[in-house]
């Protein structure tokens, strides 16, 4: 028993702790899946279809089987039902048309890159050598590639991605505020605006993107234990275990999935992949550990892509710029299969087109379409960047039409801070926010008025380099998600999260979370939360995750959920530990439990200096020599938390670009943002999340696009052609925060992982358009390449559609290498 400890000098919450994870990562002591080597391990290489759509007429594996150190070559027919299936967890409508998705199809391939055979050899190099020897005969079929044509194919007699389905449309999902009782009739609002107000009608393209996490996906399967162990570079070890069990017949209790160090995901590793299923089946069949690691080219070709929508938008407003209605009609390209949550991505966007505004009427419809391209699914923001882009671009167009500053038009329509909690026209209840405060701060950081003055001056003197200012006032729904809401949307699982706190005998603490980090810094931020609430030193907390044998329960990491859902589970588990410890403390201090106060990690008897630290109590409980009668000798506690609401971070982002009107070159000049993400646990980690998010969003605006040619071949299939930004392309950002604590979790936190990406894309494109609007431009298609910007300036178009070609590597006229 000790006297009361002084409270910690510095609160853990809000402290810019350097990360616990870094010591290993900066010294190369890492556990990437591809690092794992097991005795007798065999290596896999995939034989992939070069055709976007083709019937497999024969596969001759004999030459490959004779290859050096080849163990076997297997096809889908060889593996049969053992290969399981790739699941769709979110059929967005009851009658969704969902093509079967075998990891290795037996008769027909539906996109270029799909696996048709797997080579197993003693080394990865030998497996790849032999993969070249597998002879596959294909009968090429017409491929459905263009999204708009594919959407109409069942009526026009056009090409079908899966001929036996009779249509490319998998689902039509609709929301109408009048029908839902959350708002008025959008058609009436449109009719009125057409007659006596302002009607903005636009069609925007959300180009196809590739998540392009830095660590290529890798999977190791060891079938030699009582549980089959799978290491995978995945965001979703728990969901993967479920899918393996559900589709292969192997009992869930016989499967252990480990996500060791995972090198980024951004939604791209939120998938149950064919490669994981094939590796699992091969390992079981051979009884030997196997490993498959994709090349970067394979990753770009076959790991799921993101975005890829056409958005038809109608915004109705009064002449003064008050919005009276918004109608959204999407076409969403799901690619060749309905991925695990692929069909749900546009539906997640459905609730966000109304953004921070008080629109009285709203209608949303998405038509989800199959094509013969790589499947699409979550990519950082998943549905919400698309929605935010559309509305923030439209608000700028409305401002231009009314003839006022873009920030003024937003202010006329946004929810005032006194109006929270606010139920939106999409039926969500926003718990807290202050758009005025975030915008005021962002304007101040930006030097908004001075930049507007400079813009006017440069316009007046006809500078060939024009300045453009772009605004994005975003909000998002994150913290996925209340299980009941997911159920009402026909999602196949819940949205809770699990945590467990183990008080070890020596006083250190093991904390288990069902969230599964892949670069976010959970070990650090979660340690801060536990250290703060339990009053133990930060260094005494160990965060365990990403292994279903340790973390038996969880729903993993995506949708900015780890802190706001997983963190709340953690808080509740810690609180249970404290409540379990209270009677022990009372017993040992010979006091009444009612007379005890817990603070700074110790129970003290009110009005005395007598107290006992929780770490001492843990030791006493371990010994169990002197506990209250009938008490279980354990303080360990767990909690499973189902959120009551989504979580609504917001922010104001301001971007300045310089556009060379002679070349179309866009140069970032300044980017500031003020995000309101509630209470911040670790400002350093938050800043990193914002910076990284910003660059991914900016990259959509300016550089990145996955392009297929007319045969359905991905021509941006390497880092030579897919333009990931480099340090030389980007700038230093200025970020800050306002704080409107969330009212739906104990810590008042909001998600931050996706914020930067959601907000930045429209800020940049608004800036580019703003720079050249006086030249008659009101839209430029993303990515805003110099060519597109130049064309827009010169012919008043939006810059033209994507041409189906990559950067030329060869000069065909010369017939040689350039």
């Amino acid at each position: 028993m000790t006297a009361t400890q002084e409270p910690a000098a510095q609160a853990e919450i809000g402290r810019d702790r350097r990360r616990k994870e870094d010591q290993r990562l900066i010294t190369g002591r890492t556990r990437w899946t591809d690092n794992i080597t097991l005795p007798g391990m065999l290596h896999l290489a995939m034989v992939r279809s070069p055709f976007a759509h083709a019937r497999i007429t024969s596969i001759d594996t004999s030459a490959a089987k004779a290859g050096r150190n080849v163990v076997t070559v297997l096809t889908g027919a060889d593996l049969g039902e053992a290969q399981g299936a790739c699941i769709n967890a979110w059929p967005v409508v009851e009658d969704q048309v969902t093509p079967d998705h075998l990891p290795m199809p037996t008769d027909r391939v539906a996109f270029a890159g799909e696996t048709v055979a797997v080579v197993v050899a003693r080394s990865a190099a030998e497996a790849r050598d032999a993969a070249e020897l597998v002879e596959v005969d294909y009968e090429e079929l017409p491929a459905a590639l263009d999204l708009k044509e594919a959407a109409a194919a069942h009526e026009s007699g056009g090409t079908l991605a899966h001929p036996d389905l009779g249509t490319n449309v998998t689902a039509v999902w609709r929301f109408d505020s009048a029908e839902a009782g959350t708002g008025g009739d959008v058609e009436a609002a449109i009719a009125e605006a057409r007659d006596s107000g302002i009607l903005i009608e636009r069609e925007y393209r959300q180009q196809r993107l590739i998540p392009a996490f830095m660590e290529p996906r890798s999977v190791v399967v060891d079938p030699t234990g009582e549980q089959i162990t799978i290491w995978s570079a995945t965001q979703i070890p728990h969901i993967l275990r479920f899918a393996l069990a559900a589709t292969t017949g192997v009992p869930e209790s016989k499967i252990r999935v480990i996500a060791p160090d995972v090198g980024g995901g951004f939604g791209g590793k939120l998938q149950q992949t064919p490669e994981e299923m094939i590796a699992f089946a091969v390992a079981r069949r051979l009884g030997k550990p196997v490993k498959f690691t994709e090349t970067r080219s394979e990753s770009l070709l076959t790991a799921h892509h993101g975005r890829d929508q056409w958005q038809r938008l109608t915004l109705a407003a009064t002449k003064e710029g008050t919005v009276t209605g918004l109608k959204v009609d999407l076409l969403a390209d799901l690619g060749a299969y309905v991925a695990i949550v692929g069909g749900g991505v546009p539906v997640l966007g459905a609730f966000m087109f109304n953004a921070i505004y008080k629109f009285p009427a709203y209608q949303f419809q998405t038509t989800n379409v199959l094509t013969n391209k790589a499947w699409t699914d979550a990519y950082r923001g998943a549905g919400r960047p698309e929605a935010t882009y559309a509305i923030e671009r439209l608000m700028d167009e409305l401002a231009a039409e009314v003839g006022v500053d873009p920030l003024e038009i937003r202010e006329r329509n946004w929810i005032n801070h006194e109006e929270f909690p606010f139920t939106t026209v999409a039926g969500l209840e926003y718990d807290s926010g202050n758009y005025e405060a975030a915008t005021a701060r962002a304007k101040e950081m930006f030097g908004y008025d001075a930049l507007r003055a400079e813009q006017a001056e440069r316009r007046a003197r006809g500078d060939k380099v024009q300045l453009g200012l772009g605004v994005s006032t975003f909000t998002e729904m994150c913290g996925l998600a209340p299980s009941r809401v997911l159920g009402s949307l026909n999602y196949g699982a819940g949205g809770w999260e699990h945590a467990e706190v183990r008080m070890l005998a020596t006083g250190t603490v093991e904390v288990v979370t069902g969230a599964s980090a892949h670069g976010q810094g959970h070990e650090t931020a979660f340690s801060q939360i536990v250290a703060d609430r339990l009053g133990v030193p930060f260094e005494d907390v160990e965060i365990l995750h990403g292994d279903t044998q340790i973390s038996h329960k969880g729903l993993d990491t995506y949708g900015s959920r780890s802190l706001v859902v997983g963190g709340e589970a953690l808080v509740r588990a810690v609180d249970k530990v404290i409540e379990k410890a209270r009677p022990v403390a009372a017993h040992l201090l010979e006091a009444s439990a009612d007379d005890l106060e817990f603070s700074g990690g110790s129970f003290t008897v009110k009005g005395t200096d007598q107290g006992m630290a929780i770490q001492e109590i843990a030791t006493a409980v371990f010994a169990a020599h002197n506990l209250p009668d009938g008490m279980e000798p354990s303080l360990d506690s767990e909690a499973t938390y189902d959120p009551v609401n989504f979580n609504y971070p917001h922010g104001t982002h301001l971007c300045a670009v310089e556009v060379d009107t002679e070349t179309g070159q866009v140069k970032l000049r300044k980017y500031v943002c003020c995000d309101d993400i509630g209470v911040v646990i670790n400002p350093l980690i938050v800043a990193g999340q914002v910076h990284g998010g910003l660059v991914q969003g900016i990259a959509q605006a300016l550089w990145e696009e996955a392009i297929y040619d007319e045969n359905g071949t991905l021509v941006t299939g390497s880092f030579v052609d897919y333009l990931l930004p480099t340090a030389a392309d980007t700038i230093t950002f200025e970020i800050d925060h306002t704080t409107s604590p969330s009212t739906t979790n104990s810590l008042g936190t909001k998600g931050v992982g996706e914020a930067g990406t959601i907000a930045s894309t429209p800020a940049v494109v608004n800036a580019v358009v703003d720079a050249v609007r006086h030249l008659g431009v009101n839209d430029i298609t993303m990515p805003c390449t110099p060519e597109r910007v130049w064309r827009a300036i010169n012919d008043g178009s939006s810059g033209g559609e994507t041409t189906e070609a990559a950067m030329p590597h060869f000069d065909e006229t010369e017939g040689g290498v350039q």
Partner: protein, 159 residues
């Protein structure tokens, strides 16, 4: 097979390798130096950057046989023997210059070389000097801060 003799992170090693084996494959598969990673197949990403006789190279762009007789330093050999971190390693941690950590070995090795050539680089020189190393997590902001910090030109991270 060809016999190569080289020094890796201070230890002499000798192996028979296939002539086509890349240095990064040799480091990872034969020596277990898995701190050095492979991020692409077109030498764009720089995740595999190591020092070959004191100069940064993308080890996916060098054959193992080309390293015969050379001295190779990987991320695993950068800290002092007593575990004291190299100032660049320390700077990346201090400035939160990494998130998932996959590009980090390459970023750190490239930064060490960059600062050797130019101990007092401007922000532009840093950005150009790291152009061959891709990162998808940080947006490069804090990587640039880390390089400046290592060069002694800033006070560490600002949140």
């Amino acid at each position: 097979m060809a016999r190569i003799n080289l020094t890796v992170d201070g230890s002499q090693v000798s192996d028979d390798v296939e002539p086509r084996m890349l240095l990064v494959q040799y480091l990872r598969e034969q020596l277990g130096k898995t701190g050095t990673v492979i991020g692409c197949d077109t030498s764009n990403c720089g995740a595999c950057t190591v020092h070959l006789d004191g100069t940064s190279v993308k080890s996916c762009n060098v054959l193992a046989v080309q390293a015969d007789g050379a001295e190779v330093t990987t991320i695993e050999g950068l800290a002092a023997e007593d575990g004291t971190l190299h100032p660049v390693q320390e700077a990346f941690r201090e400035c939160h210059g990494l998130q998932c950590g996959f590009c980090t070995p390459g970023m750190i090795m490239q930064t060490v070389d960059l600062l050797k050539d130019n101990p007092d680089p401007s922000e532009e020189a840093i950005r150009l000097g790291l152009e061959g190393n891709l990162c998808r997590c940080t947006g490069y902001h804090n990587i640039v801060r880390a390089v400046q910090h290592a060069a002694g030109t800033t006070e560490g991270a600002s949140a």
